[in-house]
Point group: C2
Chain length 397, copies 2
Amino acid sequence: MITVEKALKIVRDNVVDFGIEEIPLSESINRVLKEDWRTDRDLPPYDRVTMDGIAICFDSFEKGSRVFTVEGIAAAGMPQQTLQDKATCLEVMTGSILPNNCDTVIRYEDLDIQNNQAHITIENIRCQQNVHFKGQDRSQNDLIVSKNTIISPAEIGVGASIGKALVKVARLPKIMVISTGDELVKIDEQPLAHQIRRSNVYRILTTLQDYNIQADSDHINDKPEEIRTKISRYLQDYDVLILSGGVSKGKFDYIPQIMEELGVQKLFHKIKQRPGKPFWFGQKEGCTIFALPGNPVSSFMCMQRYFRAWLAWSQVGEVPSPPFAVLQEDVFFKPDLTYYLEVKISYSSDGKILATPKKGNGSGDLANLSNADAFMELPRGRNDFSAGEVFPIYWYR
Amino acid sequence: MITVEKALKIVRDNVVDFGIEEIPLSESINRVLKEDWRTDRDLPPYDRVTMDGIAICFDSFEKGSRVFTVEGIAAAGMPQQTLQDKATCLEVMTGSILPNNCDTVIRYEDLDIQNNQAHITIENIRCQQNVHFKGQDRSQNDLIVSKNTIISPAEIGVGASIGKALVKVARLPKIMVISTGDELVKIDEQPLAHQIRRSNVYRILTTLQDYNIQADSDHINDKPEEIRTKISRYLQDYDVLILSGGVSKGKFDYIPQIMEELGVQKLFHKIKQRPGKPFWFGQKEGCTIFALPGNPVSSFMCMQRYFRAWLAWSQVGEVPSPPFAVLQEDVFFKPDLTYYLEVKISYSSDGKILATPKKGNGSGDLANLSNADAFMELPRGRNDFSAGEVFPIYWYR
């Protein structure tokens, strides 16, 4: 049985590069960028007017001019206009190119325009005001978004503006999610007295949807031959298998043994943690296997803590540091295990993240997950955790 | 020009109920539940064994018995077994029903089994240990997830376990996202010197994907007749129109006037805020119109602050309180406007959310959005904001 730290190190040492694919920008949200983005033009690409009003040559204003004849108009989308006479002005619209011979824009709010004469009604005019100058944000060929960035709407906008109709992103693994256990029936079946409905696979499948991963799923009964045949095929067809159940000490927990028979390298089995102690992790050639415990809270916790970290290390190269939250109640936990406590998150008005324990009735209490928002990681080697102490949290909503 | 508070009140007063639809559970992630979920059975539905080992009658242990003949086995998925002789035991697997005449489970780790005799190797055995009793988490017909909950993987698991193959959720609005502005060209076009590529619509469309909304999009040039014809049709065909551009003081900012001509009720135009001052909001019969400013930072900020709030009020009935973060640098802001400052978020080891300003070059600086994670709301009526002060943040990644 290994520590959480050791398990995470092994997970990190066994990341997989799934390569790169090119997809439409509009489908790339939440994906990991695998190219550096550089600007194809200066940003802005021209001296861009930022207010509706008039453009003048500041020199005229400085020399005392307060009334300017309107010579014409420069709209957004028009080629650059030219002010012919520096004593006059051009009306300019937000987004248009600043006309030649102009350097300053005065907004309509500070003007009184009558009979084609623009009277400036305030004295506080600065040279070059209300112009967003060419290259002010970025120069052509500047690095604008780095490789390994997770694409948010902000990057989508940048990509659009620099013409990235297609973007190179990390390919996502092809994943099969498998539940095992003879007691499990389908959602739409009426379980007998000794049966329950499958729920782990659905929690896992929808967690994967955060990454735009549409995984396949299957259920295998506790029959060694059936498990062997199906796993053998899935090892060939998928990049990742996520199993739940069959990894503990029970007579029908066939998974570790069958994995060994199929030539899968066991990387670890059992972690000093609660929930999730029986987690089994292995690899065979291109396929990585997360064989999670069958208890609903256990399998879900392992997804949040280990699968997410493995995917981030595989795709981004690093896992972001988790937030820390302030424990709101004393907690006593006796076993010498890292304890993943279910917590409800709230925010204080002084900028803190608060974590209120929702202990529930152990790793079988799937309903309790709905009362909480995150797992708080309480370290091994202590039994008492006091209100006011701060520990990392792993959010699941 | 109205305040942010007044604008939000108007947004709240103009929510729309889009009704309810029934969809498969596996597609319901991030949707808003529109039915109360009650347990169809006790949870757990039977006295559920939580460890692999043996089940005994504790009475025998208490009377001194430490060796138990193994009578048989109870696997998960088997109907309930019965212990025939209280001096013996049954092997039991995690997830199985506790056999009749048993009340206590001893795990394999605390046993030595040889020749069908299970020797208990520890003395610290509690009656009823390692059993998750019927109804311990919830009783049949208990409220387990409430109407208006946003469905996370935790609720997906609950729904699966209580047999909700189909779930009632708030119907999402049908949305059209429209950019206007003659200077805009498509992503895959090479812009001329006075042109730029469209980016606002992509930022907006991918923000909507957070809600599983696949919106349509269009671009309309600054031609009043074209705007009138298209908007007129879209008002009929969509629940929501989100426009960007054409709402300011420019000569070609036709949107407010055309909306009026088409009988759209203006609910407000212009808010005391930066960015996003020219935001126009209106409604006509079933259609709600967010006419956002054309500047990229402005339109994006209005989406995060106003559209998200409107959708949450429409679907959930309330908007969650935003987190507060600690400003990391002094900020000076002169105008008498609410200031939405772009900030980069990090976490301190004492449980705080930290916000580092990324001011950028104003509302046209779309590249700067990629340097930040959130908008921090700095209130009107002040010019100086000090490092260490705490303000609400609106996350966009």
